[in-house]
Symmetry: none
Subunit: 223 residues, 2 copies
DNA sequence: GCGCGGATGACAGCTTCATGACAGCTTGGC
DNA sequence: GCCAAGCTGTCATGAAGCTGTCATCCGCGC
């Protein structure tokens, strides 16, 4: 799950990025509207966190542009405490949620999870599939009732595959979801590596990750 | 979810009550410290909204009393815009959050939700897990029947971990739970330190604190 | 059988965590 | 007020294990 953070205050952006990173999101930071446009044009995001006060204009312009262009990526707007006008305006222009600064990082994380979950058509964080039990909020994974430990990357990959269950996911897409721009030089072999590691941990769960040569991977129930 | 609003300005109190009522909270209003004490003695609250300027004294006195009595109900303090002294003092005395007047009702609602959610998942103060017996109200800890002394910080950490038993808690989250805004410059290493100290005291209790690298810590029964 | 995309074991680098020692500060007793 | 005791948080050092690369092997599809 890749998130774009459009925020010019370095401290805030990096704190959010670190926190969301732990929660399994891969984050890109754009300190200006121009950067945000560039990022959004290059790749797709599961959600966008958008500050309204930016050095080269208002985030509302960016939001309006994207919506006009038919982009439905969920947007969470960050607003100053007293700018009720901005907040309401942003919602009218298609923002999906807002948070008043200063905000709690947990709140941001919870809301982003809600937004991205809504997109995947899932009602709750917890998913049961075969004998597999995955809770994205608690970062917990069980196979046949037994707790299975998994690393951050493994969980992020599983999350992506489950969110797109039954669909073939191109390797590039998985790559984009796992790594931000700062990790662009990572070899694509890495995806294969993590698929293998995940498969080992999911064995016996009734859930399989199928390989589709030249196309990508698909997670689904066995058989 | 029942909330106590300690506030003498009728307009503000009633507006807040109405707004929170719509958000699903049941509110009691106490315009004086005396009323607040009476209410708090009669029933428990999911959270307390506390104005510091009251006709019969400072809300800080009330807050200090409750904390001394072992009451851990989340308290959100309302302060005037420029009374930094009061704000910091209140946080030191155990307030969980503050809001500067005039505030937006939606913000109050969001913060209360955050406070009560943090507290959720625990019906009573006393928790028994393995041979561990922890009473958050009395701040007492027993392992295998024997009393174990623990410091304030250690107990706070244990409290947080137990309230989120079975869930992986990111270090930031534990940090937020242990330190207020005024301690923002404390190194995150501190969490690791207290985890180590706690582990020593919990050894042999059947309860363990697992490390999940890059994700956080999780408390659960051993095995 | 051949070629190419994928699978997988081994490994080194590096981030993250564990832990003992220590100094500053707070608190409580006198 | 002073002193002692203990709580707190910093630092440094070493361990642990996650991460991604490489090399090699596999097997599908032609």
């Amino acid at each position: 799950m890749r998130i774009l953070i459009v925020e010019d205050t370095t401290d805030v952006a990096e704190a959010a990025s670190a926190s969301l990173g732990r929660a399994g999101f891969a984050c890109d930071i754009a300190p200006t509207l121009a950067d945000a446009r560039a990022c959004a044009d290059i790749t797709g995001y599961a959600a966008i966190v958008l500050d309204l006060n930016l050095p080269d204009g208002s985030g509302r312009d960016f939001l309006r542009e994207r919506r006009r262009a038919g982009d439905l990526t969920p947007v969470l707007v960050l607003t100053a405490q007293f700018s009720v006008e901005d907040r309401v305006g942003a919602l009218d222009e298609g923002a999906d949620d807002y948070l008043v600064k200063p905000f709690d990082l947990r709140e941001l994380e919870a809301r982003l999870r809600a937004l991205t979950r809504r997109e995947a058509g899932r009602a709750e964080n917890r998913v049961r599939l075969g004998s597999l039990d995955f809770d994205a909020g608690a970062q917990s994974l069980r196979v046949g009732g037994a707790a299975v430990t998994a690393t951050r990357r493994e969980l992020a990959l599983l999350n992506l595959l489950i969110a797109n269950r039954g669909r073939i996911m191109p390797k590039e897409r998985l790559f984009d979801g796992l790594f931000g721009f700062e990790n662009a030089d990572v070899g694509t072999n890495t995806i294969e590596l993590y698929v293998a590691r995940l498969r080992k941990k999911l064995s016996g769960s009734g859930v399989v990750i199928e390989t589709h040569r030249g196309l990508g991977y698909r997670l689904d129930l066995d058989g």
